[in-house]
Amino acid sequence: MSAARTGLRVSTRRLVHIYRSEGHEVAALSGVDLDVAAGELVGLLGPSGAGKSTLLSLLAGVFRPSAGKVHVGDLELSAASARDLDRMRAQDVALMLQGAGRNLLPYYPALDNVRFAQRAARRAGKDLPEPEEVLAGLGLVADARRPLAELTPGHLQLAALAVAMGSRPGLLLADEPTSQLDHAARDQVLAAIAETSRELGTTVVIVTHDPDVAARLPRTITIRDGRVGGEGRSGEEYAVVTPDGFLPLPLHVRDRLAPGTLVRFHPTDGSGYLLVPEEESDE
């Protein structure tokens, strides 16, 4: 694999997304601030319904935010035109949907799928490697022309990755890329994604709820109840102060502090704070 390092910086500010479900308005995201540096590999974690996939769709320009800003590279998505979004999807951002099959045209082999994915970018004049080269980079030479139905789930996912990376995007958004895979295949796919990010400088945002996957990512962001609930870096878990000053408690702490508990922040030797819960008096 060879190409210029093309990673895109991603940031969101006070990102809100509300959708209607059965007559009610539901806030999927309620003020997410996120910064991902160019070439960074980030995992979005969180329980089902937390808003991870919604955030990913907002980053891909599939959804328009109800409020807030989304910046992908120099493009602010909430104000981008449909043409801008098409151009962005053609050249800069690739979205891998959950389930390998959903990323592939079922009647084409992997090779033609990559070619199909590259067409818009090529037409725009982007210099891209040949589909065979893309597939070779992921070890799929032997599968290039085989019907998709004959591929193993792991290779199918790799084919989906090849399709996504075919246009050499600056941002790869992958929704549960390792779900439904056995451990070997999962490791193979993760390694390929990491290699891609490293090799090409592509910014990668992966949605996962698999702790094993999360453990292999240099940085993870936990989304909880539509907000950034924490961040993990190199295996260390952090709480993140929101722009409006809230501090979500880590899960293990929240279990111990019942709602309504009063806490105090005690400065300690000038470099940190001690969080002290008040004991209730029986007076």
Partner: protein, 1027 residues
């Protein structure tokens, strides 16, 4: 590659596209083939003289004051040139000729007159009975009848007059002819209707009366050679036989226009030659044109419905297959290809498949037209394609491209977020989408306008289809929520199997499509079946009405006694054949009299639905009065106690005659004066000559005086004797005359040998008292209107002798088979009494069956009595005439349309199954995984589609029936509107039942098979499928 992934779907889509193309191609080609067939049979069945073109050229007359134009007629070759070359090309080689008058001199009443004719090549179409072909000037050939009648053996010399010389002492030159041969004419198209014989010995009443000879044939030089003078009434003739085999419908129309132009332009030439063209071709062309116009109602009516169905089906199928490709569209959009790229992706897959159906569809249509040409249509219409085929193909391609483009655009314009969902977001289940609402509103408005009579033209023809679209769409939209409701209720009651089937059906867009399409297809099948059978029924009833019975034989002459005698021998019960005598007085609005033997007529005549109850026929019964028969050549009667006197207007006594009407067995009335009674008589015996050697009926006693005189008194007649004494009384054997205008003449006696008459009249010159055996008032069953002068039920009926007779309407008939609209049916046994048939009366024999043996038997019996059968007409022949018309062929198209509708509905089911089998088998597999037994899953799979089919068939049947009710009155079922309408547009229930059962059988079987197949493939491994 893409079509290989979904081969059945591609196949089904191509098949639907093929049907659309087939509809588009078949309609114009079939219409054209019908026109060609119509042209063929119209021209081929026309007499060559009618179809051909004949030119007759004469010289302009003299210059007045007895000046004679003695120029010979122009050479026929120059006359033939009047016809433009383009027109000539449609005719075979011309038959040239000359004709002139040939009246044998010296011109006495015994010397025959007629025509002498030269016709090129005539001898090849004659049989020479004697002598040789006339080849030299002055040689003639005469008919065998002429040779006998006028004693004209070969070698006989004759003289006929030429055109008189001009000048002060005009002389008549003589042309001398010699009989060279005696001929028999061989019937052939060559003669172009020229009948050479049949006139020999007949007298032309003139004036002056002259005995006629048949046409004499001669050589060309008789008209051109210097040895003979120019003959009177000379004319050149050109006969152009039509080249029937090479004539197409376009040629027919062009030729008819050319002949009409020729008739206007030929006229008088510069040399005084007047050319007159004769041809029946323009009338034939008008007939073809008129019938073609009819076919242009029916063919589009049927094909428009089918085309509409095919288009709707294709549209819904395209919607299904494009919806199925939503994930692929989403991928295209996610890869930055935009809406245009997404459209291109789908069009690249679907359009070639749709267009691939065009050529097979066209081939199918061509095959259909070929089959129609060889099996249905008569004649030898050429196989035409050309512009019509290209136009139709272009139309089909346009429709396919438009529909595919619209369906693709509909999906491609959806936002990516919507496309990423497996199924499109559902609306409020009861609501109608904007597009559907527009279609329902549009179609519904058209149907309402049509039903209220405000719509005509092509749009009106699609009304039944539009109605079905409205019903189908509305029903389809109601099906979802209603089925869901039923499913939820079933679930609440614990009926899980039914509930799952219903809920599955409710959430599936395929269910709605199936309901809509099955409704439309069933409506079309029902409409087509109804139209087909109603058309057939109306042709049958029109043929029956026109013919009257299965076989009709017209009898030569008017010898009714011979006819009845023959029938009494052959069929004494009158079960197989019955006499019918018809007489129609001249003038429009006149009531035709049809005299029948009621019991026989009601059994044999094709009365159909017009049959009155038996009691109606009883009202025509004959009175049981006995006739008074007398025979011999002398007749004697006594007159006693006569006080009869006639007083003239001046007070003086007037003359008074007493007489009897005697009717011979042949029906001839002998108005016989018996006595002059100027004064009162106590007793007198009178004897006169009578002509009753073979017996007569005494049908009336009459008294005659001068007009204006009064007549009163009584007299007693007795001792009526012919060869033997005859009883003239009692009074009951006579019908009193009691008329306020004419007067009274009343019988009064109680003994058989005496008849006293009491008379009172003021002004009538004749009083007649009829014998009771003769009806005074003829009872009649009447169809149509009574004549204008009728009073109540009393009217004047034309008797079989052509005279007016008093009649009374004793009942009505809807119509009388074989007769016109205004008809009085009387008892033949009654109205034939005492009358001889007028020459205008037509005697026919009506047969219960087309029984040729019986016909021969009757013919032989008639021949024994000096009569015979002139012509015969069969119901089958008349029916064939109705069947071989554009109207019939058009309606018969309904059979194909109905079958195609069912086929299309079947395709929809297959397409639905092909489009959704992956999802449905996965759903069923999930049920199996949940522990539902295999049999139950199979039953659920079957039950998911069956209710939709059943609902569609029921709704479609209703829509089809109402569509037929709306549209059938606009369909021309018969080529020409008959004089008596037998139109019956009542629903053909049996046909409708067959159509419904056929639709149900095909679609229900298909649903069951599809359901079972899906259930069989619902392996739990399907759940792991990702592709």
């Amino acid at each position: 590659m893409r079509t290989r992934y979904r081969p059945f779907q591609a196949l089904a889509l191509a098949a639907l596209a093929a049907l659309v193309a087939a509809c588009a191609v078949f309609a114009p080609l079939y219409d054209r083939a019908m026109q060609q067939a119509l042209t063929d049979i119209t021209v081929e069945r026309a007499d060559p003289a009618v179809a051909g073109l004949q030119l007759i050229a004469t010289r302009a007359g003299g210059g007045g004051f007895g000046f004679q134009n003695r120029e010979r007629p122009a050479a026929p070759e120059t006359i033939a040139e009047v016809v433009p070359a383009g027109t000539r090309a449609h005719y075979l080689a011309p038959v040239l000729g000359y004709a002139a008058e040939a009246n044998v001199l010296p011109g006495s009443s015994r010397d025959p007159g007629g025509d002498v004719v030269w016709r090129e090549g005539a001898c090849e179409h004659l049989t020479l009975v004697a002598g040789v072909c006339a080849e030299r000037a002055g040689e003639i050939m005469v008919s065998a009848a002429d040779a006998d009648n006028f004693d004209l053996p070969v070698g006989t010399r004759l003289a006929i007059p030429g055109i008189p010389h001009n000048g002060a002492h005009a002389t008549v030159p003589r042309a001398h002819l010699v009989v060279a041969g005696v001929y028999d004419q061989e019937p052939s198209a060559y003669w172009l209707g020229l009948q050479l014989t049949g006139r020999s010995g007949l007298v032309d009443p003139g004036p002056p009366a002259q005995v006629q000879h048949d046409v004499w044939l001669t050589a060309r030089s008789t008209f051109e050679g210097p040895g003979l003078p120019p003959l009177p009434a000379g004319r050149s003739t050109v006969g152009l036989p039509l080249d029937v085999d090479a004539l197409g419908v376009d040629d027919l129309f062009a030729l008819s226009d050319a002949i009409r132009r020729l008739a206007k332009t030929a006229g008088a030439g510069a040399d005084g030659t007047i050319v007159t063209p004769y041809s029946g071709l323009p009338d034939l062309a008008d007939d073809v044109r008129e019938q073609s116009d009819q076919s242009q109602v029916t063919v589009p009516l049927l094909m428009a419905q089918l085309g509409l169905l095919a288009l709707v089906v294709l549209w819904l199928t395209l919607l299904a297959v494009t919806e199925q490709r939503r994930p692929e569209v989403a991928l295209a959009r996610l890869r930055g290809r935009g809406r245009r790229g997404a459209r291109g992706l789908l069009l690249g897959e679907l359009l070639p498949v749709a267009l691939a159906g065009v050529l097979p569809g066209a081939a199918l249509a061509l095959l259909g037209v070929w089959a129609a040409r060889t099996m249905l249509l008569p004649g030898h219409a050429p196989f035409e394609t050309g512009v019509r085929l290209l136009g139709a193909l272009g139309l089909a391609v346009l429709a396919l491209v438009l529909l595919t483009g619209l369906a693709v655009a509909r999906v491609a314009r959806e936002p990516v977020e919507t496309l990423l969902r497996r199924v499109p977001p559902r609306r409020n289940s009861w609501a109608l989408g904007t597009g559907d609402a527009l279609v329902v509103a549009g179609c519904g408005s058209l149907v309402v306008v049509f039903a209220t009579g405000g719509l005509e033209g092509p749009v009106a023809l699609a009304a039944p289809g539009l109605l079905a679209v409205v019903v189908g769409l509305v029903l389809a939209h109601l099906t979802g929520p209603i089925t869901a409701l039923a499913g939820r209720r079933a679930l609440a009651r614990g009926r899980v199997r039914a509930a799952v089937s219903l809920l599955d059906a409710a959430r599936s867009p395929a269910t709605r499509r199936v309901v809509a399409i099955v409704t439309l297809a069933s409506a079309l099948a029902v409409f087509s079946a109804d139209a087909f059978v109603v058309g057939d029924r109306n042709r049958a009833s029109a043929a029956a009405q026109e013919t009257g019975a299965r076989l009709i034989a017209d009898v030569e002459g008017g010898d009714l006694a011979a006819v009845r005698g023959a029938l009494a021998d052959v069929d004494p019960d009158g079960r197989r054949v019955t006499p019918v005598v018809r007489i129609r007085p001249p003038g429009t609005g006149a009531v035709e009299t049809v005299a029948v033997v009621p019991d026989q007529f009601r059994r044999i005549a094709l009365l159909g639905t017009a049959a009155p109850p038996a009691s109606a026929w009883d009202r025509l019964a004959v009175s049981d009065a006995e006739p008074i028969r007398i025979s011999g050549t002398r007749l004697r009667v006594d007159v006693d106690d006569s006080t009869l006197v006639s007083i003239r207007t001046d007070g003086e006594r007037g003359p008074l005659s007493l007489g009897l009407d005697l009717v011979t067995p042949a029906g001839e009335t002998l108005h016989t004066a018996v006595a002059d009674l100027p004064d009162e008589v106590a007793h007198a015996r009178f004897e006169v000559t009578s002509y009753c050697r073979d017996g007569c009926f005494v049908t009336a006693v009459w008294l005659q005086t001068v007009p204006g005189a009064t007549l009163t008194g009584t007299a007693t007649l007795s001792n009526l004797v012919g060869e033997e004494p005859v009883a003239i009384g009692p009074a009951s054997r006579w019908t009193p005359l009691q008329d306020p205008v004419v007067g009274d003449m009343v019988p009064d006696s109680t003994t058989p040998d005496r008849l006293t008459i009491r008379v009172r009249s003021e002004g009538s010159s004749e009083l007649t008292m009829r014998q009771a055996w003769l009806p005074s008032v003829v009872p009649a069953l009447v169809a149509g209107a009574l004549p204008p002068a009728s009073q109540g039920d009393d009217f004047d009926l034309t008797g079989l002798d052509g005279t007016v007779r008093a009649a009374a309407r004793v009942g009505t008939l809807t119509r009388v088979p074989g007769a016109g609209p205004d008809v009085a049916v009387a008892n033949l046994d009654l109205v034939q009494r005492g009358v001889s048939l007028a020459t205008s009366a037509r005697v026919a024999l009506w047969f219960a069956a087309d029984d040729r043996d019986l016909l021969a038997e009757v013919d032989a019996a008639l021949h024994d009595r000096g009569a015979g059968i002139a012509t015969t007409t069969t119901l089958a022949d008349v029916r064939r005439g109705y069947d071989e018309s554009a109207a019939a062929w058009s309606v018969q198209l309904a059979a194909i349309v109905g079958a195609a509708a069912v086929l299309i509905a079947l395709l929809v089911l297959l397409v639905g199954a092909a489009s959704s089998w992956r999802f449905r088998t996965r759903d069923l597999a999930a049920l199996r995984m949940s522990g539902v037994p295999r049999r139950t899953v199979g039953a659920m799979a079957v039950a998911a589609q069956l209710p939709a089919v059943a609902v569609g068939v029921v709704a479609g049947t209703a829509a089809g029936l109402y569509g037929a009710y709306l549209a059938l009155p606009t369909v021309p079922l018969l080529a020409d509107p008959p004089a008596v309408s037998t139109l019956d547009l009542d629903t053909a229930w049996s046909a409708v039942a067959v159509a419904v059962l056929a639709v149900l059988a095909v679609l229900a079987t298909a649903s069951v098979l599809i359901g079972r197949t899906l259930a069989r493939r619902s392996d739990v491994r399907r759940l792991r499928e990702t592709l």
